[in-house]
């Protein structure tokens, strides 16, 4: 079966197994020498690709929910989108969510996803009560911050390389409404953007859309978007049931756009229009357009054509963020290979061995995959390493072993733990082989 992840590159002809019970899963794990778990395939590259894939999508039962504490227990194939549909009307929200709701709980743990609230709430692993994982020897081990903590910290952000996550428990966030009180602040350049982040870090949610094609004095001009869960009092009279939102149709992107449509000129015009469209103001918005603006269009990845695309996402330590961002942004604008979506965000502190976040600024940019962009990435890699930063494994499809090791100082510790828990080296992806873990 042909399998590819969100970036449409690479495409792998893989055997996909979809076990429904732990017994079936054990049989698959014991009878194959090598495999990787896969959920909804929203990582961009090859993180969940191998020639044997274990799909967790049939592992999607809710097992328990405590209405008092908000603690949920579920299987790893349950998606964030299902959880939102079930729990938002009951007054509960995900403690942390990435920019798409089409990820599974297992995938969220393996990528240790972060959201717009990372500077306050940390990454997804921060909200886990425990995780149950099936190891290569067929045993199922429960781990948490206190129990088998080395397994826990190598599984959170561990890209599925320690075993197959079967169940997890985490705490949902109590909300009064399904709306977000949003503030937009437009900035004129990178200095202003960074200052605005600092000045508004008490906001629960913050993210900036950055015009990555603006040059010179406008370099780094952005629209900083801030948000708080709106209270009942704030929206009270507007809506009869503030937890209920009418379901919207999702619009499918029907076909792969021909490759020539997206070029540096059209992208530049798009960025220009988008920046002008933002107005500094306060408003109430539904949670979906706030957190998942792109999920409205299913298969929006087809916009990039059949050649495939990737997202280059890096984080720089806080000390070197300003200088580093300027250098990297200049390099990107000079190349003219700008992207539709460039997102800037300030991270807070972070634990975990391979978890991507660290205190500092992260920038994510979408690029079509082409010889010129690949060359650009190599140049950017050097700068990222130089400033002590690293790249996000879940978005990556081309990082070298060297760049990985320079960025992730705990990789040795992780490798040793992987050897301890995955003696037979059963859990491997095309990515893990490429970067040597």
């Amino acid at each position: 079966m042909k399998i590819t992840n969100w970036g449409n590159y690479p495409v792998v002809d893989a055997a996909v197994h979809s076990p429904e019970s732990v017994d079936e899963l054990k049989k698959i794990v014991s009878s194959h020498p090598e495999m990787i778990a896969r959920g909804l395939g929203r990582c961009y590259g090859d993180s969940s690709l191998n020639y044997t894939i274990v799909s967790t999508l049939r592992f999607n039962h809710l097992l328990a929910f405590d209405e008092q504490t908000g603690i949920i227990i579920c299987e790893s194939g349950v998606s964030f989108s299902e959880l939102l549909e079930i729990f938002v009307p009951r007054g509960w929200f995900l403690p942390v969510t990435p920019g798409t709701k089409f990820v599974t709980v297992g995938g969220a743990i393996a990528s240790d996803v972060h959201g717009k609230n990372h500077h306050i709430a940390g990454s997804f692993s921060n909200h886990l009560e425990w995780v149950k994982i099936l190891l290569g020897d067929g045993s199922i081990v429960q781990c948490s911050k206190d129990e088998n903590s080395d397994l826990f910290w190598s599984t959170c952000g561990g890209m599925g390389l320690t075993g197959i996550i079967v169940e997890a428990s985490f705490k949902m966030l109590k909300i009064e409404t399904a709306y977000i009180r949003q503030r937009v602040i437009k900035t004129k350049n990178l200095d202003e953007t960074i200052e605005a982040f600092e000045a508004n870090k008490y906001w629960t949610y913050s993210v900036a859309w950055i015009d990555c094609l603006a040059k010179g004095n406008s370099l780094g001009r952005s629209a900083l978007i801030l948000g708080e869960h709106a209270t009942k009092n704030e929206v009270g009279y507007r809506y009869r049931n503030p937890l209920k939102i009418e379901k919207r149709m999702s619009i499918p992107f029907p076909f792969f756009l021909p490759n020539f449509v997206l070029n540096s000129q059209t992208v530049k015009i798009f960025n220009e229009i988008r920046y002008s469209a933002y107005v500094s103001k306060d408003s109430f918005v539904e949670y979906e357009p706030f957190f998942y603006p792109l999920d409205v269009i299913s298969h929006w990845n087809r916009m990039y054509g059949k050649r495939g695309f990737t997202q280059y996402q890096f984080v720089l330590p806080k000390e070197s963020s300003k200088e580093g961002l300027k250098k990297l942004l200049t390099k990107i604008t000079e190349s003219g290979e700008g992207s539709f979506l460039a997102v800037l965000k300030l991270f807070g502190k972070q634990e975990g061995l391979l978890s991507f976040p660290r205190e500092g600024f992260t920038l994510a940019l979408d690029f079509v995959i082409s010889p010129t962009t690949l060359k650009l990435f190599n140049e950017l890699d050097i700068l990222v390493n130089e400033y002590g930063g690293r790249l996000y494994l879940s978005k990556d499809v081309r990082m070298t072993k060297d760049v990985f090791e320079k960025g992730y100082s705990n990789f040795n510790k992780f490798s040793n733990l992987k050897k301890k828990y995955d003696v037979q080296q059963k859990f491997q992806s095309l990515q893990s082989k490429r970067i040597g873990i």
């Binding site: 429904e20 019970s21 039962h61 809710l62 097992l63 328990a64 929910f65 079930i86």
Partner: protein, 247 residues
Amino acid sequence: MNSEKYILIIGAGSDIARPLAYLYAKAGYGIYLASRNIEKLNRDANDIKLRFNVETQAYKFDVTETAVHQKFYDSLPIKPIGVICLAGTLGEQKKSEQDFTKTKNVLEVNFSGLVSIIHIVANDLEQRKEGFIVGVSSVAGEKGRKSNYVYASAKAGFTTFLSGLRNRLFTSHVQVLTVHPGFIRTKMIEGRETLGIITASPEEVAKDIFIAQQSGKDFIYSKWFWRFIMLVFKMIPESMIKKLDLK
């Protein structure tokens, strides 16, 4: 959490069962799940309860154990407003040709066992003058081919049974819906080569069934285009069919 209307799903181990139960639970129905694998059913029932806050019960039930069907139905605390039969097995055609016990099992699971439980429910609904019966048959039942004709003939019998029952229950206002699905991405056909474009997901078929039942239909194909595929296929005369190497 108190549901007034219940549906009974026979063959709830099927991949279509859970997405279908979700749709009914969302619409406020209580759910009875019945199949052989009670462990799986308990897990499913718990999941449905947590998601939709409706009463959900799991029952161990074997279509072929017809002797206890009446007792099973009598044991249901609130009688269902509808029954949906998803039970079925492809069996192994080659083995069925050699071993009648294998053939018998395929006939029982796909036909006679279902006749038993459906008649029990039908008699109750006929008296109550309400409700619905949904039978999931198969496009395979419309024409025999060498690769699965034992299964196909059981399905043909089932389809004919449902159409007769529909005629009988018409005056009692009981709906009988026959569903002819084509290829579905389920464990039944796991490992077989299927054409991606005409293979439906269990969720799609569940949605087709739910909408057809709720709008009072008698017969549907799922997906809809199978109507045309079968129309063409049935136009091929037997004299030609017999010569084809049909998989």
